[in-house]
């Protein structure tokens, strides 16, 4: 391209962004496009979100649309519900998913059930954003994932991006969805300057507006020997482990679920149909949760797909300990993932 051919510099078609910045960019596009989108939560204004989920939004859209709330989760999440019912598209932040305890009624008895109870006559087009995950010694009340709990309760979609591209595409899809969508971002994938990060928390993101469909998993690495079904920060670990195992000739397929509700069962079945072996890696609690649901998908549809027993790498039903060696023992750290894959493939 020469100067004469291009009088105006073209807008960049993509940029390298952290997951946090990609999420904010998605919000920014939606807020610019649709005046009914507002963002509420604790420290989302001048602080820009404790985990940088709203950096710059206050400056661009002002305090009428980017609103710091009191520490009153029941009231402001409920307010989001009411505003959504009346036609706004609120995005409401619950600072840590762990704090669901103080406001769960608004979430699961109201946000999630109103559409059904009204026979489909009342829509609640709201997004509940929330930070999840551990690995930095924040203790038992600030480190949980809890997507299995949200997923268990009917009526809300649940999305969990692991990288910048999906973070932007999923927040845009979530805002446009006519259902309540819980958008769960792991602190460890946000690319925060003050937390350990995997290079995968930074990536190429198209500058314009695009969506990632809710309910569609993505095959983030192809392989033939074993399928790892996972999500969120564990995707980063699983990919690192897969690279390492490839040196030993083990070809691991890694599926990033991206959505917990709806769950992309077809993607799970297709991959396990190919590899015959399944490892589920889930940072949430082991029992009654996502990992069991993934395994049940195979058992329900076609247990004959499996050539070996499955392995689940999850939190062994222990409150997340504070002390680092204890915390690392219960989290799906790369060592545990590697051991599980080796066991399943017999390597």
């Amino acid at each position: 391209m020469t100067l004469t051919e291009s009088p105006a510099a073209p807008a960049p078609s993509s940029q390298r962004l952290t997951t946090a910045k990609a999420m904010v960019q998605g919000l920014e596009l939606e807020m610019a496009r649709d005046d009914s989108v507002i963002y509420l939560g604790e420290d989302v204004g001048s602080y820009g979100g404790i985990f940088s989920s709203t950096t710059g939004l206050l400056d661009r859209f002002g305090p009428e649309r980017v609103i710091d709330t009191p520490i009153s989760e029941t009231a402001f999440i409920g307010l989001g519900i009411g505003a959504a019912v009346e036609g706004l598209r609120p995005v409401v932040e619950l600072m840590f998913a762990d704090f669901m305890g103080v406001c769960l009624d608004q979430i699961y008895n109201h946000m999630a059930k109103i559409h059904y109870e009204s026979g489909g006559n009342v829509k609640v087009p709201m997004v509940l954003t929330t930070a999840v995950g551990g690995g930095y010694s924040d203790g038992a009340q600030h480190s949980q994932c809890l997507w299995g709990t949200f997923g268990h309760l009917p009526g809300m979609k649940v999305v969990v991006p692991s990288n910048p591209y999906d973070a932007k595409g999923l927040i845009i899809s979530a805002v446009r969805d006519d259902n309540p969508v819980v958008y769960m971002f792991h602190k460890g994938v946000m690319g925060l300057p003050w937390m350990a990060k995997n290079p995968r928390s930074m990536g190429e993101v198209p500058a314009g507006d695009y969506t990632v469909p809710i309910g569609e998993a993505s095959v983030v690495r192809e392989g033939t020997d074993v399928t790892v079904v996972t999500l969120s920060l564990s995707v980063h670990h699983a990919l690192d482990v897969a690279d390492k195992l490839a040196e030993d000739g083990v070809e691991t397929e890694v599926i990033d679920l991206r959505s917990v509700v709806p769950l992309d069962r077809r993607a799970i079945l297709a991959s396990v149909g190919k590899t015959g072996r399944l490892v589920v890696v889930d940072e949430d609690y082991l029992s009654y949760g996502l990992s069991g649901e993934v395994v049940a998908t195979i058992a329900d549809e076609d247990p004959g797909l499996l050539r070996a027993p499955v392995a689940r790498v999850a939190n062994p039903d222990v409150p997340i300990p504070y002390s680092r060696p204890l915390e690392y023992a219960v989290l799906p750290r790369p060592e545990r993932i590697e051991a599980a894959i080796r066991k399943v493939v017999g390597a």
């Binding site: 604790e42 420290d43 204004g45 001048s46 602080y47 404790i50 710091d68 709330t69 009191p70 520490i71 009153s72 989760e73 029941t74 009231a75 762990d98 704090f99 305890g101 103080v102 690995g135 930095y136 010694s137 924040d138 203790g139 038992a140 009340q141 600030h142 300057p193 003050w194 937390m195 350990a196 062994p316 039903d317 222990v318 409150p319 300990p321 504070y322 002390s323 680092r324 060696p325 204890l326 915390e327 690392y328 023992a329 219960v330």
Partner: protein, 349 residues
């Protein structure tokens, strides 16, 4: 002394008539004690600050170092802990928040084991399972929680149990001003009055809930107004004034011990440092005032003017505090980390 059968709520009409409590004026020894407690707390927080930042680099990684995770320090809030806990015995309960160290120290929590917990060691109060927001010392009935306002309801239960056992022990429940907009705060105030429970509610108003100033979060200038609406005596104490806190807490504690029910104190205090370590405080419009509002030099001047302290006494008190604190830090650092194989231990009794 209880005024009714243990554990049974007293209907409002059967309660003894309200009498204003007599002032609690600290004597000389008590005044020096308040000062010593404040110095001990500050010395402790400065030591934790120093240790927290060891090995956090390059840059600042919250998960690294000898003390990982969030760290909420209480420098500036010493007068609350000193003034309130001076009236308590170790049989009384204290429930604190995510910012608990000052109250733990003033209430006599074992400093070595508390420090070991903050360092994540097996010798810690919670054997490394809890961490700095989850300190439990049953010997002195101390606990804290990282969930805003959620320390209030359990304090009601401790008070209920103390009364049912026929004792005159009380529970002190502490939160920040940000917590007073949470449902648990309001439910607790109502129930405490309804059942005439021996509780003292304390609200530490340090002007900020992380980055949100009180004026943006709270519809009333004083939480005493809210407490009065629930039918309990309440007062707001300005200027982080330790002797005024001591006085008000003395009356509230006495009232609770005598079976006359709960009270609330809101104390206008000061968060000298960030919400947590690593908080750049770009939102903070009042930072230039902070050094001038430091309560420790202020009280030091008062006691010097009263002839109770001189430079030598001050340096002795500070040296004693440093010795005590460094002993705790050494105990923590010399202790073992927990065995990862035991991560699942203590989920159930």
């Amino acid at each position: 002394m209880t005024t009714q059968a243990p554990g049974r709520p007293t209907p409002p009409e059967q309660r003894p008539p309200e009498q204003p409590g007599l002032p609690h004026t600290p004597d000389d020894e008590t005044r020096l004690g308040l000062y010593r407690t404040m110095v001990l707390i500050r010395t402790y927080e400065e030591a934790i600050l120093r240790e927290y930042h060891v090995d956090k680099g390059p840059g600042f990684d919250i998960g690294k170092g000898l003390i990982p995770g969030e760290m909420h320090l209480s420098a500036g809030q010493e007068p609350v802990a000193a003034g309130v806990c001076a009236h308590l015995s170790t049989g009384d309960a204290v429930t604190a928040t995510h910012r608990p160290h000052h109250l733990a120290i003033a209430h006599g929590v074992d400093m070595n084991r508390m420090t070991a917990e903050i360092f994540g060691r097996e010798t810690g109060l919670g054997r490394g399972r809890g961490g700095h927001m989850h300190l439990f010392d049953p010997d002195v009935h101390f606990s804290c929680s990282g969930i805003i306002a959620e320390g209030y309801p359990p304090a009601l239960g401790q008070a209920f149990a103390f009364r049912r056992k026929g004792t005159d022990r009380i529970a002190v429940a502490v939160t920040g001003e940000g917590a007073a907009n949470q449902g648990a705060f309001h439910e607790s105030l109502n129930l405490a009055v309804l059942w005439n429970l021996p509780v003292v509610f304390v609200v530490e108003d340090n002007d900020w809930g992380i980055s949100v100033p009180r004026s943006v979060s709270t519809c009333v200038p004083s939480n005493a107004t809210r407490a009065e609406a629930y039918g309990m005596p309440a007062e707001r104490i300005e200027d982080n004034a330790v002797e005024a806190i001591y006085d008000a807490a003395g009356r509230a504690v006495e009232r609770a011990r005598q079976g006359r029910g709960p009270s609330l104190l809101e104390i206008h205090t000061l968060r000298m440092w960030g919400h947590f370590e690593g908080d750049a405080q770009a939102y903070r419009v009042d930072l230039t005032d902070v050094p001038g509002r430091d309560p420790i030099p202020t009280y030091e001047r008062t006691l010097k003017a009263a002839g109770l302290l001189d430079d030598e006494a001050v340096s002795n008190i500070k040296a004693e505090a440093a010795t005590r604190v460094e002993e705790a830090v050494t105990f923590a650092k010399d202790s073992l980390l927990p065995d990862p194989a035991d991560a699942g231990k203590y989920v159930f009794a």
